[in-house]
Structure formats: C-alpha cells, structure tokens
Symmetry: C2
Subunit: 138 residues, 2 copies
C-alpha cells in the first residue's frame, strides 16, 4: 500500500493529493493512508500539508526513491523473528541457537533489502505507464 501511495503521488507529479483520493485508489480507508503517510513523512519521502486544498506530494524525484527505503520507512519489524520464549540454556543447542539464528536472519534480511534497493519508484512508474499504453491500444 505504501508503494501504491507513492506511485500515485509520482503519477500526479507534484500535485498535492488527499488521503481520501489515495484511499479511493487503494480501496481502503483514508485513516489507513494517513498512518502510512506519517511513516513516509518521517522517512522524508513525502511532504504533507494540512488544511483546505492540502494533501501530500513526493519529497524527491521518483528515481531517487528505492523500494528498500519504502520498506524501512513502513515496516517496523524484520522479516524473521525468534520465538517469544527463550530456549533451554541447559541444552547445548538451546544455549546458542538464538544468536546463531540472529546472524542468519540478519544476512537474509540484508539480502532481501538489497534486492528491493534495485527497484526505484521511477521503475515502478515506468511499468505502470507501459501497462496503461497496452490498455489503450486495445
């Protein structure tokens, strides 16, 4: 949904867009969009104004926003988590499985984000615009 928000903002190229409009495209509630926008603001990816005629717009060029940034802006927990209960430290495996897994998870997390980094919002826009042309030709 965060990428969807940013894609619409990029599509609207600098115009301010309201949370209600974004919610209409995503098919969700404006409050959900506003919560997303708050996270995207913190990450300085969008800029939002209040009051009449207000709304949000991108804070930088779509080519300078990659999906790893979006992921980090919006996602506050990592892809993997260890169980809430601590393993039995009296067992040789239980004693060190946690830190072992954390290293493995950190590596996988990095690989995931590295892959997301490869795609920019501009790339996403290009795909969408290409699809639109296809639609029109029919």
């Amino acid at each position: 949904m965060a990428v969807h928000v940013l894609a619409v903002l990029a599509y609207k190229d600098g115009d301010r867009v309201t949370s209600a409009f974004l919610a209409g495209s995503i098919n969700t509630h404006p409050v959900i969009v506003r919560r997303l926008l708050l996270a995207l603001q913190r990450a300085k990816l969008v800029e939002t104004s209040k009051g009449a005629g207000a709304g949000s717009r991108l804070n930088c060029s779509p080519s300078r926003i990659n999906l790893a940034q979006v992921y980090r802006a919006v996602e506050d927990s990592e892809a993997f988590a260890t169980p809430s209960r601590k393993p039995n430290a009296a067992c040789p495996v239980g004693n060190c499985i946690l830190e072992t897994m954390e290293r493995i998870f950190a590596s996988a997390q990095q690989a995931l984000e590295k892959d997301l980094e490869k795609t920019t919002l501009a790339n996403v826009l290009d795909i969408i615009k290409a699809s639109c042309l296809c639609e029109k030709k029919r």
Copy 2:
C-alpha cells in the same frame, strides 16, 4: 524453531529423539514440535516413528540440508503479501500495481531464499559446537 529441532536431531546424530525432548530444549509444547515435524517429514528432512521408544531423526546428512529447504518446508506463505482488498481498477495506478508488486515481491523472495540456501544445517552445527567449546574453556 524448525532449525532448532533439526539442530538437536543433528546433534543427537541418528538417535531417535522424542517431541517431548525437543520441546524441552525449545521451551515449547510437544504438540507444537509435532506439527513442525509433520512439515519436516513432508519435506523428507526427518523421519519419524510412532510407538514406544520412537521419535524422530534426520533423513539425510546435515551438510545436505540448507536453511532454504527448512524455510520452504515450514513456511506456507511468502514474506510479502498484497492487501486483501483489490485496488481501484479505474485508477491507472490501481489497475496494474498488483501485478507489478507481485513481480517485485517474487524477486525479493528469491533473494531471501537464495541467501538462506548458503547456510547448511552442518554450518549451524559447527557454530553451535564452537560455542560449546568456548563455554567449556571458561
């Protein structure tokens, strides 16, 4: 928890281990372990017998089991999912964001699993045994 299970089985090297024992090391309930074992059986990573003196053991050498296999055996949904409600097809972005994101998610998923592939259960065991040596030296 699945890696923990397999690590204990590898540590016990061929001996049959009960779900109660595994649960004791993980600090969870035997039924949770049995559910994991069912998934690991389906993936042919472990072999389980029923009845008195029964239990589970690895079905292949720890060096031939990598963590991507474990992940796929145990995890039935992917790391990313699209929202349950479909976007507004009347919006140019809403119309094609879904398939665009699915491509991006598939790539990230592959990157994640590729990274997990790099670590085998034997690697995990090595780390654990090395940690144990450290403990003993103190």
